[in-house]
């Protein structure tokens, strides 16, 4: 089942001579439980694709469907509700609230959506435990390492009944060991059924995805075909 569908999406900023085509006729389909990486150089339109997929921006033309719902037909409140309940965001710079503990940060989206404090905290703690962060639950962000902060941010993005995770260079500021831990977490979230779109210029991170799409000058120019199993790499005489 498709969780995110972009149909012929274009996005133009500015007018006349200052017109910039950030996206041109982009179509993308991300199914339940699958992880898609979007790779491309800076300025290629990767981040615009993500903000449009997350209903933070409106496309100039084309259609965006999240969990089967056409964003263009939804009210502002409806979109806000969709963002709170169904979509999780992860950014390069974590964006945790410094005055809240890890567990409180994770529970926050549920509380903002009207869940009782106790229920929200329980759900938050459950996600932290699933992601191996239970012992960090009562730490404040400044007591966590960069890698731990980003993992808490991912826990916050998948808490509750989220269907779609949108990540913009989620491990850009981390060393390779922590970057791998972050990608493992996103991968694990997908195995539990969430759909993820990860934007990155880093091939090692992209290689965690089931499918990698390549974007250039606002167009999807290519994508990987499903890889054969790793057995094909082993046992070669090299």
């Amino acid at each position: 089942m498709s969780v995110l569908e972009l149909r012929h999406v274009s996005k133009v900023y500015g007018q006349g001579a200052a017109e910039v085509h950030a996206l041109r006729d982009v179509s993308l389909d991300v199914g339940q439980g699958s992880m898609v990486a979007v790779m491309g150089p800076s300025g290629s339109g990767k981040s615009t694709l993500l903000t449009i997929a997350g209903s933070l921006e409106v496309p100039t033309s084309g259609q965006v469907l999240v969990a089967g719902q056409d964003l263009a037909t939804m009210s502002r409140n409806g979109k806000a509700r969709l963002r709170r309940r169904s979509v999780g965001y992860v950014f390069q710079d974590f964006n945790l609230l410094p005055g809240l503990t890890a567990a409180e940060n994770v529970a926050l989206p549920l509380e903002l959506d009207g869940a009782g404090t106790r229920r929200a905290r329980e759900a938050g703690l459950r996600v932290l435990t699933d992601l191996g962060l239970a012992e960090r639950a009562s730490n404040y962000p400044d007591q966590l390492s960069g890698g731990e902060r980003q993992r808490v941010a991912i826990a916050r993005a998948v808490v509750g009944d989220r269907q779609l995770l949108l990540a913009d260079e989620p491990s850009g500021a981390l060393d390779s060991v922590n970057a791998e831990a972050v990608m493992r977490m996103i991968h694990a979230a997908c195995r539990r059924g969430i759909a993820a779109v990860v934007v990155t210029h880093d091939a090692q991170l992209a290689s965690w995805a089931d499918r990698v799409v390549f974007i250039r000058d606002g167009c999807i120019v290519d994508q990987t075909t499903p890889a054969p199993g790793p057995e094909s790499l082993l046992g070669q005489d090299r």
């Binding site: 150089p41 091939a203 090692q204 290689s207 965690w208």
Partner: protein, 193 residues
């Protein structure tokens, strides 16, 4: 990896029978660097001839023959571990040559050529990453070997990205090098004009 030094490394853990050496060699290197097992016995003979290992027994080759490393063998192993492999001379890289050829070929979209290689490399990286995923970090040696492949492939993808960016920029503002400095480097890198 050299069979010679792999065997010295196995023997530095203690004396071992030929058969056991063959098994361990297969276990430890087989997954990522499969090598010809027939080489194990010929290499042991050469190591013995060079005084780097010694064996008990009557000189007959048999899987029951036991080998141990000598002092010279340990010194050889220590030197080998610390000697950087030859990496200073740029290799004649087939991929670099293909991109350089594409650059000069009329009617060829170099960036499309670059993308074809980029996609292939990322697909390979996806396969290597699956191994890490399945293993979940339990096998340290396998993890390190897979990382080495991933970093190597990643470096090539980054070169392609840099080439792509450079070509795009050059199309906007043509690049004119100071010609005097270049012939020697061209020879060294195998770039011909």
């Amino acid at each position: 990896m050299s069979v010679r030094h792999a065997l010295l490394a196995l023997l530095s853990e203690g004396p071992k029978y030929g058969l056991r050496l063959r098994e361990e060699f297969e276990e430890r290197t087989g997954e990522v660097w499969p090598l010809n097992i027939g080489q194990v016995y010929t290499t042991l003979q050469r190591l013995e001839r060079d005084g780097l290992v010694e064996s008990d027994g009557d000189g007959q080759d048999s899987p029951q023959k036991r080998f141990r490393i000598t002092g010279d063998g340990e010194a050889e192993l220590a030197t080998w571990l610390r000697t950087p492999p030859e990496m200073s001379a740029p290799p004649r890289d087939e991929l670099v040559i293909k991109v350089l050829v594409a650059l000069r070929l009329p009617g060829t979209d170099v960036r499309e050529v670059i993308q074809a290689h980029r996609r292939y490399l990322v697909e390979l990286m996806q396969q290597w990453t699956r191994i890490k995923e399945d293993d979940a970090g339990r096998d340290l040696a396998l993890g390190l070997a897979v990382d080495a492949e991933l970093f190597r492939l990643d470096a090539v993808v980054r070169w392609l990205d840099a080439a792509d960016g450079r070509i795009k920029r050059t199309a906007i503002e043509p690049f004119s090098p100071k010609r005097d400095d270049l012939p020697r480097l061209r020879r060294k890198t195998g770039v011909t004009r």
